[in-house]
Symmetry: C2
Subunit: 351 residues, 2 copies
């Protein structure tokens, strides 16, 4: 959707929020039960009819009256990718809140695409969950419209991009985390401090690296672009970019990794080059997955309260579902990160 | 349920499998729609009535006619506990099969109890999934009866106990895995080989330890009970029991751990005692989680094809749902384990 279109739709919403199901039906030239079928995600409606109805629902900003009794006791949880132990912490948080509320969790993976498929949105409309929690995943405009017209609230956890100011979201203080990690290294006496980031299209990666820069600049340490590498959040990326950084003639004595898995990749690169952690190289991770305590040496890392963030997201989406407003005022909550110092960081040799 | 009761129920099933919903209603003294409400897990039936109907359904071995159209496009996945990265491999496998079949996955955790709660069974009956996959989790007799009467098939993955010969299940060749791991250590020249097992109530742990014994006995190495420790499948257990084993005067030169997390705990115990892996201590794990490749040194382990097992379980439960028989002949499939040799095993010092 281009910007002019978006503006137009928003105007339509403001002017006609009270369109009834019968009015939508009349305008579409179909019966009210047909509109109802579309809203319920039933398969027995011709695609053309369905598209026409969906467009009118969207144009009129139609919102189904909330009827608690017609909802299924389900909450939808959608991952961009369910790759690492990271996902498990999130699932656990959502499970905790759902169980207390007597709800079950439906899990989907958008399989590497940032936006779940069209089929997914139809399935959600058909099963009428209490709400949808998206993890590092986004909805396109038509999916948002589809959920809004069914009064199915949604919350984004730790947005990959910029979720828009009107999307409720739960994040962590990524910038503060990057700042704390890098200050810790500066305080130990490091001056050649490298950084391996996550994907630059993800806001959380950018915020962490910006925190890293801020720590260096406020300490009067020049930022050297040769010491910053962009990768993704996988082990392999930490290994490969770690080798690049550590093979430089004036190699860094410390590296701030984008997450714990990258930090483990960096461990492997250091082993391969005969560098000891922390004697020859200090490493800081991000996330504090269980494995951070288990590796040798135990990893200094920035704790991101993933389970608590997921709990907060689940509570928020259930609150939105109970509220009087189908789409509440913008809500953005950031939970605090904190530095956990273990054994992978030390003063640089000769300091 | 005691054995005589079980026999009685089975007789009743054989003799009266054709009881109709109307006959059940008559015998219970309620209307047919009331029986239908019970079958659909509706809340608006008095508990006493509901129990009476459930008992009759069970006594008559009633099985709902399978009507594809009344099923929700869901598959239920129930974990005993969703503790480790192990769970993620399983979720991924079930997701793969469900996605291809156009189904979504509902996740539950029996929160450390081996049997999911009563509420869970009611929720499953109400949401009518295509099937239920239980992971290291069991159903009690009444839960099995409840699913059977609704024609909701179920499959147990990697049973914790003895699921009964009439429960379809997918496992791995745990005994062969224990054998291969221990033979590898014997072949390297080790004679003092310790073992840390998982919980002895879990058949998979027992099978692994029996494989370990078989390897020692067939190699003419005496089994020393002082070298075998029973724990659970957590990191902490490997650490604590590892310290016990390694502090013995005649300590083992190699240890077969019950799983990868225990092996990482063992790494930590060895580090604490100043023992190097593999120079002073060889370690073999079980599972081959992603982290096994990432730790230092990379872990020699028995690969259990968790994702493939979960895929097999999901395919089996969908097949059962499509089949003509609501409860098919007993099915037990074991997928092969395989030894993956990395860098945590070597010949003992002085060998």
């Amino acid at each position: 959707m281009t910007p002019p279109e978006r503006a137009q739709t928003q105007t339509a919403r403001r002017s006609a929020q009270t369109a009834t199901l019968a009015e939508i039906a009349r305008e579409a030239g179909v019966s009210a039960p047909t509109v109802s079928k579309v809203l319920n995600g039933r398969a027995d409606v011709a695609p053309a009819t369905r598209n026409r109805v969906e467009e009118l629902l969207r144009a009129h900003g139609y919102r189904r009256r909330r009827a608690e009794s017609t909802r299924s006791p389900l909450v939808d949880l959608v991952f961009h990718e369910m790759e690492s132990a990271w996902a498990l912490e999130v699932i656990r948080g959502v499970e905790n809140v759902a169980r207390d509320a007597g709800l079950s969790v439906v899990l989907s993976e958008s399989a590497g695409r940032l936006t779940p498929g069209r089929t997914w949105a139809d399935q959600v409309a058909a099963r009428r969950p209490h709400g949808v929690i998206l993890v590092l995943s986004e909805l396109d405009e038509s999916q948002r419209a589809l959920l809004t017209s069914r009064s199915i609230p949604f919350v984004v956890m730790d947005p990959a991009g910029d979720p828009g100011s009107d999307v409720p979201s739960i994040g962590a203080t990524n910038w503060q985390g990057g700042l704390a990690a890098t200050r810790h290294l500066v305080d130990l006496g490091h001056r050649r401090i490298g950084a391996i980031s996550g994907p630059s299209r993800m806001m959380c990666s950018r915020a962490r690296i910006d925190g890293y820069r801020a720590a260096l600049e406020t300490a009067g340490v020049p930022v050297d672009p040769a010491l910053i590498r962009n990768g993704d959040f996988h082990h392999e990326s930490g290994y490969r970019l770690g080798l690049e950084l550590l093979r430089q003639p004036d190699r860094p004595t410390a590296v701030f990794a984008g997450n714990d898995l990258q930090a483990l990749g960096l461990y492997e690169a250091a082993r391969e080059l005969g560098l000891r952690v922390p004697e020859d190289l200090s490493v800081v991770g991000f996330d504090d997955l269980p494995v951070a305590r288990w590796v040798g040496p135990p990893l200094t890392t920035v704790r991101q309260p993933l389970t608590e963030m997921a709990e907060a997201a689940a509570r928020l989406v259930l609150e939105l579902g109970r509220g009087d407003e189908a789409t509440p005022a913008a809500t953005r909550v950031e939970l605090a990160t904190s530095l956990v110092v273990r054994s992978s960081t030390a003063a640089p040799a000769g300091a």
